[in-house]
């Protein structure tokens, strides 16, 4: 891999919180605090973590919905912070998003065809006929009938709506899809349909995914690589199979221990951590996981462990390694 499609270096996003009577003093919520990862062409990176760990903020930074406090995002080697005009438009076309809830992400007043056509109208100068043809093409691509372009979102089920959202994201030939919990709101039988569809699209189109989720089994199923986030930082990243067979960081292992079994006889390592994710406003000193970590030592409270390689593709941020 020469230049990865997306290269994120030491990304940070701090949100100010005003405090005090006159709202003068302020402190910071460090939602994303030094995150580094890369996604290659045709690759899926799974970003996993509990609510409040910064995974959605990371997605927003990549989608340029938020400006980073520090760090860089490079797309095909080019820093996206400096993009203006047509280059910015091209980036927005190449990086698209699919949200969790297809009931709120599709406008109820627009026909499905118009929803899918909108990015094409803004991003390309295709003729009306060409746009209509492309809408039908992507509808078929995601497993819907081209005639459905005339219908409104309420005429579709949750799974079909999510297909529409994927079709919209792909309409203008996106290279990277940010999938923010795309199957969490769907029924079990429909989840498998969408996941298989996403895998199929990746194989045929070579599109890359940033798959954000909290369900370990789903993320592990679809991802090539997985990064585990905790309180704004990546604590472990590895190939999906390596992470599943040899999770190293105590937090990753706790996530695996907490994952639901797939058979009643399936016994898991009993490493159920206590407590809840602390507030990002006042993150613990040193390693942010140390107040909940069963292996914490005095060093963990003082010194933040850096992310270091323990294998060619396996990085862990923990003093144990």
């Amino acid at each position: 891999m020469a230049v990865p499609l997306l290269d994120v270096q030491d990304l940070r996003k701090y949100f100010p919180v005003r405090r005090g009577l006159l709202r003068r003093g302020h402190s910071w919520i460090k939602a994303v605090d030094g995150v580094t990862f890369a996604i290659g062409a045709g690759e899926t990176l799974g970003l996993i973590g509990e609510s409040g760990c910064g995974k959605t903020t990371t997605a927003k930074l990549i989608l340029l919905q938020e400006t980073p406090t520090a760090g860089s995002i490079r797309f095909e080697g080019q820093d996206v912070a400096g993009l203006r005009g047509p280059a910015l438009l091209a980036y927005r076309r190449a990086v698209q998003v699919v949200f969790q809830d297809p009931y709120s992400s599709l406008s109820p007043r627009m026909r499905v065809g118009d929803i899918i056509a909108e990015p094409l109208e803004i991003q390309t100068n295709l003729s009306r006929q060409a746009i209509r043809a492309r809408v039908q093409e992507v509808l078929e691509l995601v497993g819907l009938q081209p005639e459905m372009a005339r219908l409104f979102p309420h005429e579709f089920s949750g799974g079909q709506r999510q297909r529409i959202a994927i079709a919209r994201a792909l309409a203008a030939n996106a290279r990277l899809l940010v999938l923010d919990e795309p199957v969490s709101a769907l029924d079990v039988s429909i989840r498998a349909q969408i996941i298989n569809q996403l895998e199929h699209l990746q194989q045929t189109l070579g599109v890359s995914y940033l798959f954000i989720g909290h369900d370990l089994a789903t993320v592990a199923h679809i991802s090539h690589r997985i990064a585990v986030m905790y309180l704004g930082q990546i604590v472990e990243s590895a190939d999906s199979d390596a992470l599943c067979t040899r999770p190293q960081h105590p937090y990753t292992r706790a996530l695996f221990a907490a994952a639901l079994p797939d058979h009643p006889d399936d016994t898991r390592e009993a490493l159920v951590i206590t407590g809840e994710v602390p507030s990002a406003l006042n993150p613990p000193s040193g390693c942010r996981f140390h107040p909940r970590c069963p292996y914490a030592t005095s060093r963990c409270a003082e010194e933040a462990p850096p992310l270091k390689f323990i294998d060619t593709h396996h990085q862990v941020a923990c003093h144990l390694f």
Binding site: E50, S157, A258
Partner: protein, 333 residues
């Protein structure tokens, strides 16, 4: 000895458009539950699992009515009871935990007030004994520093804590049965694991029976003794939990198991084609036939009866071979 709960041939229909349209949300559901046992009620949205539970506690919306069948709870028939009688039963002997704790807690009342309400209403506790009881319950569900927390309001709690508060309310009057309707859907994985372990522990201590409504077979594998799989208002398969995972009989159950991503084994997922049926216009014959990979002509025209497939194991499918020995021996539970 009679089981704690015996539901037989329960039918709850919704009547809309002045009774001209009938939706058979629960259409002949039967199951039993012993004290201390956990039943998983599994199915997709709209399959009737929540309506089944609401029928048990008499909290059906106005458009719905129980039109047939019986619900026997601890030897008492619940269908046909007056709202007043049901109110005395609800919270006292059957408690419910709902999916969204923010929607089931009153934002204007303190935690102490809400946790104490069932004990106040049903057990007539007042003053210091009531306060002691509230603190005990909060301790039982692992709320840190309950003396402080009980004066706070729901918005001051995290999602996991709120759901534990709802659990404390459910336990307040020492019920014999708790119905938990997708209680962990909104919780994070580690918080979910904590909550499920807590429920298990409480069950071991108190011997309360649990009905777990969920669409997640992982929760069933972790929590339940037996499982009932619902599809389009009917229980299509019912079995002890291990047997369901080892030898699923109904194609729908097999499809659900195949659609579940498994950690550490990257097998292709089985995607069930099509959509869950619309109960206002259910398919003919077996309701699963339009999505079934093993459909035969008979499925389209005739609805299959329940077949005994093993000990405590039944399925509604034309392809299931009855277990002759068991079905002759005794009627299955």
């Amino acid at each position: 000895m009679a089981p704690l709960l015996h539901v037989s041939d329960l039918r709850t229909y919704f009547f809309t458009f002045g009774g001209t349209r009938v939706v058979k949300a629960v259409d002949g559901v039967s199951f039993t539950l012993e004290a201390g046992e956990t039943l998983g009620l599994v199915g997709e949205s709209g399959c009737g699992k929540t309506t089944t539970c609401l029928s048990l506690v008499g909290l059906l919306p106005p458009a719905a009515r129980i039109v047939g069948g019986s619900i026997r709870f601890a030897g008492e028939e619940l269908t046909g009871k007056s709202p007043r009688e049901l109110r005395r039963l609800r919270g006292r002997r059957i408690a419910m935990i709902l999916q969204d704790p923010m929607a089931s807690l009153n934002p204007l009342l303190t935690i102490a007030r809400q946790v104490g309400e069932p004990a106040h209403f049903h057990l007539r506790l007042r003053g210091r004994p009531l306060r002691e009881r509230v603190l005990g319950l909060l301790r039982a569900v692992r709320i840190p520093s309950p003396e402080v927390r009980c004066r706070e309001y729901p918005h001051q709690m995290s999602g996991g804590m709120r759901q534990r508060i709802v659990g404390a309310i459910a336990l307040a009057a020492e019920p014999q049965l708790i119905i938990a309707d997708e209680p962990t859907t909104n919780l994070d994985v580690t918080i979910q694991a904590q909550y499920l372990n807590l429920l298990k522990e409480i069950q071991q201590q108190t011997g309360v029976a649990l009905i777990f409504v969920t669409h997640n077979l992982g929760i069933v594998a972790k929590m339940c003794d037996k499982v009932a799989v619902m599809y389009a208002g009917k229980i299509v398969e019912q079995s002890p939990v291990r047997e369901l995972f080892n030898a699923p009989q109904h194609p729908y159950t097999r499809a659900l198991l195949g659609a579940m991503p498994k950690l550490g084994r990257r097998e292709p997922l089985y995607a069930i084609p099509g959509q869950p049926p619309n109960l206002a216009d259910p398919p003919s014959g077996c309701a699963f036939h339009p999505r079934c990979p093993e459909v035969i002509p008979r499925c389209v025209s005739e609805s299959p009866e329940e077949v005994v497939a093993g000990n405590g194991h039944t399925a509604r499918c034309w392809l299931v071979q009855p277990d002759v020995e068991v079905s002759r021996g005794r009627p299955s539970a």
